[in-house]
């Protein structure tokens, strides 16, 4: 289907999450794509290779020798003023680890899609959030989509946010391996001209330019390093307000908007279950089923993981009981869950005394059925009715002992 036909017919295109990302990258008129294949990300860069080969996208397509190089090449391209993109999963993200800090520390505006997948060992190509969660402290802005439309939209929002002069930080857009990446959903594609009007390419004040030489990647000795890190921390904090502005403008252009943190069925609920990613739909279904049984549980959806949205604690502090569903294990940490650590810290700093129950689920792609989600919702409801104690350790949903 050509771009023009999509426009004429205003079709919802049936797209996998990976192809939705590739279309968004095309529509943002990205200049440089560095590509290294890894399951389940590969079909993003394959689709982009098709767009470049067919002339639909005028971009440099770089075949690099590793993910370390993929991100390094994207950083170099972005430093020269180009709009750069790469995508990865799991071990690929792990191999990029040191370069993740360099991208954010050098204040590189770019977007990377992370198709979430479990980390080795044992080797596992299926979905959980261990790669996403382990990269949350690398200084990137992290947007987590819950469906393929959001994956398409977050790439576009990501470039606008990343390139703002008051932000200038890389953006990671997460979508869940297979559950989104290889599952076809209807996606509203937007007019590429309109997308490009929303994310216009502007000449940045400082780029690598032979006419006006500058140095990127310099030494920061103890006399200077600290100041640059504070600048970086402040920029990431500003990214929250910047996101809200970009998201509101996106909604004016395209009619869809995404709050960094959203509560569904919050008004009369006894407890809130906090989730993120593709299983949001499963947990929402379970919440709705439980509510028909009279269990008043609400759902909190995190779409911005970094910076951690300040309203999470503001909203959650109104509830005595919180459930947190995390698709990753934070080995040896206070709660055993990345999400719980953040939520508990933010609630404590707010002065709240809400009790948190952590549910770990779907590790290594263990199927998450509606029964599993219902188990979580019912368990949280029993806690909220004081029929059960708040466990000090995470509840591992669906594991065999």
């Amino acid at each position: 289907m050509s771009m023009n036909k999509v426009l004429e017919k205003k079709l919802l295109e049936p797209l996998s999450g990976n192809h939705a990302v590739a279309y968004a990258v095309r529509d943002c008129d990205v200049d440089v794509i560095s590509a290294y294949p890894i399951t389940p990300q590969t079909t993003i860069v394959e689709k982009l290779a098709e767009f470049v080969a067919s002339g639909e996208l005028d971009a440099e397509f770089l075949h690099v020798e590793s993910e370390h190089s993929a991100l390094s090449a994207a950083i170099g391209a972005a430093a020269s003023g180009a709009r750069a993109f790469t995508a990865t999963s799991s071990q690929g993200l792990a191999l990029m680890y040191e370069v993740l800090f360099i991208a954010s520390g050098m204040r590189i505006p770019m977007v990377m899609a992370l198709v979430t997948r479990a980390l080795s060992a044992p080797i596992n190509i299926w979905n959980d959030h261990s790669d996403l969660m382990a990269s949350q402290d690398t200084g990137w802005i992290q947007l987590v989509s819950t469906n393929n439309q959001e994956a398409y939209d977050f790439i576009i929002i990501g470039y606008k946010l990343s390139e703002r002069e008051d932000v200038m930080l890389p953006v990671m857009v997460a979508l869940d391996g297979y559950i989104q990446s290889h599952t076809i959903e209807p996606v509203q594609l937007e007019d590429p001209e309109k997308v490009r009007k929303f994310v216009p390419k502007k000449k940045r004040p400082v780029t690598l330019d032979p006419e006006k030489p500058v140095s990127f990647g310099t030494l920061g000795d103890p006399d200077w390093y600290y100041e640059f890190k504070i600048q970086q921390a402040e920029a990431l904090e500003r990214a929250y307000q910047a996101y809200k502005e970009v998201s509101s403008e996106f909604s004016q252009y395209f009619g869809r908007s995404y709050e960094p943190f959203q509560i569904l069925y919050g008004e009369d609920s006894d407890a809130i279950l906090v989730v993120l990613g593709a299983h949001t739909g499963t947990f929402l279904k379970a919440v709705e089923m439980a509510r028909r049984e009279g269990m008043k549980i609400g759902l909190g959806v995190i779409r911005m993981l970094r910076p951690f949205p300040p309203e999470v604690s503001k909203y959650l502090s109104q509830y005595s009981f919180i459930g947190v569903a995390d698709k990753a294990i934070n080995f040896g940490s206070a709660s055993g869950s990345y999400l719980t650590n953040d939520i508990a810290t933010s609630l404590y700093l707010e002065g709240a005394s809400s009790r948190i129950t952590t549910y770990i689920y779907g590790i290594g792609g263990r199927p998450v059925k509606i029964e599993d989600a219902l188990y979580v919702v019912r368990h949280l409801w029993r806690i909220s009715k004081r029929l059960e104690e708040v466990p000090k350790k995470p509840v591992f949903v669906g594991v065999r002992y």
Binding site: G105, M106, R107, I108, M168, V206, P213, V214, S215, F216, G217, T218, G220, D223, W224, Y225, E227, F228, I230, Q231, Q232, E234, A235
Partner: protein, 105 residues
């Protein structure tokens, strides 16, 4: 003078006013200095090529040594020479000696 702070510095440690490496006289790091014996030097250019800081200068300066006439002379730019000694190690005729900057106490 107060050094630039969080609000003054350009982001990302990007150096926007090059070449700052010229004002940063790294020669002050040196503890031993290379000294070229011009009479032994055969003008082979190896020290010039190996110097990692481009601190060996090739001057258009004639010099006569041992009955030979050379049109060029090599000198060390002590503003930037860090005293690593690579030139002395590579010199095929041992014309460069490394001399301590400070006498032993």
């Amino acid at each position: 003078m107060k050094k630039p702070g969080v609000k003054d510095l350009y982001i990302g440690a990007v150096i926007i006013n090059p070449p700052t490496s010229l004002t940063n006289k790294t020669g002050s790091w040196r503890v031993i200095r290379p000294v070229i014996d011009q009479d032994r030097c055969i003008r082979c250019r190896i020290c010039w090529a190996y110097c990692p800081d481009a601190a060996i200068l090739e001057l258009d300066q004639p010099y006569e040594a041992g009955g030979k006439k050379y049109s060029i002379t090599y000198v060390v730019n002590y503003d930037y020479c860090k005293g690593c000694g690579i030139c002395a190690a590579e010199c095929p005729v041992k014309a460069i000696k490394m001399i301590p900057e400070v006498e032993k106490l």
